[in-house]
Symmetry: C2
Subunit: 385 residues, 2 copies
């Protein structure tokens, strides 16, 4: 096990500065470095992508020195959205004294509505004057990009001088690949652009792509990784550190799923193939009936079996189901035999629950993260505009 | 257009008798004919099937004269479930003076709990003495098989002397192929067993398989069609009549989706392939964000576009979206241009809403049915046991 340390700098590692502010429904965050950084990126698989993705895709090969992000409006499915995204880059570039071609952009919020550029202009002006290399700067940026998130999300991990910092937002429209999520990562790892890109894609597979909030796929999902390349580094150590960071960020997003009262971690072990393990863990964590059962603190393991049997060819007598929370553990289904339901009920009262499914059919495993489905989720999304 | 007549006999057409009773959490329905009927059947695609399916599969080749159905317990994922399902057939056979090999069985309710056979015995005794060839008998049977359904569901259609009657239950755990649904159909059509089976499979594809309540797949989904073969009949007319019946039953189930306040019919037209049209219509009607938006009477067409773009390669400028209800019609998205949102808001206040999506990419089309996602859905499923 690598001895990974957690620090509190958020994405303001080394010479990265950040800040963010909110006003009414809009928020603006800016992230900036002294020099142009190498960039890796992963975007939504939706066939209609938000405007910022088209803009970023062009700029990434030349590197980015700053990113401007707004919340409150996704700048998607509207006329002139690409022009508006470029205008955001121009605004930030002007305030920061950079070339617009080195400024990236991202947006999150409602689709189909025209961006209020004057709002973003005002906020950008204020944010640019407050950029700071500190945990607080990162936290302010994390707060500014929130939509229905209830908490800002930032992380920083370090191993032998290699650092990865991150801010993110998640909450709803999270699935099945990426999420209505934004995540901005900074690192000092001196790796080539191709290596960074490969590492980020690999890391996303087992982190953000294993996150399920509501099964909806957003046009704007974006993960950007900026490296200042200050620290020589082996790709293997970097991958472990990056995987750790993206998984922890995915968990923060699952814990803050819209309306969620419980965090669910579903681990499928003993699968024949990796794909089976992934399919099964995602099917369970995204089943409405499993999610509502956990909300109701109801150990309805039959719904877990049904979700599993809907996607994999299984036999009940081979399935193990274990619930865990902290030190509590209940082996509720063992070779088709049910037991420990009372203990399971105690575990279901906890806020963070791990569900382990043994398929006894091979050696592959996978973990997916999600949350319960609550009346509050319905209220948030019935009224969101 | 064939002039299909609706009648009120439910599944008690010709010489079919039925009845049903409920007590506490259990319900029992019996359907019977004077002679052994030819049977067609479609079952769940789940890899772990409820016990009754194993029992029925053996008996269907020899024909069925009666069916016994219980609600309140799915008789799935428990020990000796097949033995218990067979015991149910024996009970009914004894009361009705039939051979057990000609009695089919079905169960619906919670999984993983032992069936209370003595309850079913008591109810079977009473039901068997009340079997009647009338609309009321059919309705009593429809009531007895309800779980979270709020209304019994029965239908009967006739064309030139060919009759198809049906009772069904749906409500939750409905998707993506069939549903936690049971549907029992009776007909007088004199067709071969293979023809009946082929017609039922074809009909299910465009009816029950296009129904989405919550994306969950049940182990017990069952559609059984019994024919007394009294009426010579062309397969083509029969297929039209059967399709009409199964679609109307699917709509009844969607209207009574768990906690639903609105019925949604999503029609995708102008698709390149039939599969595209089906995938798109099902993706839209099963999106949590689309469903909550309709619950909130919020014309958030961006969520419809997002659901579409998640499964098909589309361009916004080619998409048309129309909302309809009764005589009201709002063309809200036309070649990427938004309009008529005020009229759309009026339509969203209605209980039954049709959403028409034009892809302008071909000639194929499909319709899927579903309902909104409400706080009541969450409450029903958090507490169900």
């Amino acid at each position: 096990m690598m001895n990974i340390k957690s620090t509190d700098s958020g994405l303001c590692i080394d010479n990265f500065k950040a800040y963010g502010l909110r006003e009414d429904k809009y928020g603006v965050a800016v992230i900036v470095n002294d020099e142009i950084c190498d960039v890796a990126a992963v975007f939504t698989k939706s066939s209609i992508k938000g405007a910022h993705i088209h803009v970023d895709e062009k700029k990434i090969p030349g590197g980015l020195q700053a990113i401007i992000v707004n919340s409150g409006n996704a700048n998607a499915y509207v006329k002139d959205d690409v022009t508006d995204a470029e205008a955001m880059c121009d605004m930030a570039a002007k305030e920061l004294g950079l070339k617009s071609e080195n400024v990236g952009v991202a947006s999150t919020g409602i689709t189909g509505k025209k961006l209020k550029l004057h709002k973003i202009q005002e906020l950008t002006l204020q944010v640019s004057s407050k950029l700071i290399n500190s945990s607080e700067g990162s936290m302010k940026a994390a707060e500014a990009i929130m939509t229905t998130d209830s908490k800002p999300k930032q992380l920083c991990f370090e191993y032998e001088g290699i650092k990865i910092g991150a801010i993110g937002k998640g909450s709803g429209m999270v699935s099945p690949n990426l999420a209505t999520m934004l995540c901005f990562l900074t690192t000092n790892a001196d790796l080539g652009r191709k290596e960074l890109q490969h590492a980020l894609e690999k890391s996303t597979e087992d982190s953000f792509n294993m996150l399920e909030i509501d099964g909806d796929l957003s046009p704007n999902d974006t993960v950007l990784l900026l490296s200042n390349k200050k620290k020589p580094c082996s790709i293997d150590y970097f991958q472990v550190l990056l995987d750790h960071t993206t998984k922890e960020m995915a968990k923060l997003m699952a814990k803050d799923g819209e309306g969620a009262t419980k965090f669910l971690e579903v681990e499928v072990i003993g699968a024949k193939t990796k794909n089976d393990a992934k399919t099964a863990s995602k099917a369970i964590v995204s089943s409405s009936l499993v999610k509502t059962a956990f909300y109701g603190e109801n150990p309805n393991w039959g719904r877990i079996v049904a979700a599993l049997a809907a996607v994999l060819d299984i036999k009940l007598e081979k399935i193990d189901i274990v619930f865990e929370s902290g030190d509590l553990r209940a082996h509720i289904l063992k070779a088709g035999e049910v037991s420990n339901l009372e203990k399971a009920r105690l575990i279901l009262k906890k806020k963070e629950i791990k569900i382990i499914i043994g398929l006894n059919n091979g050696k592959e495993e996978a973990i997916a993260w999600g949350c319960d489905l609550t009346e509050e989720y319905v209220r948030i999304n019935a009224c969101y505009n």
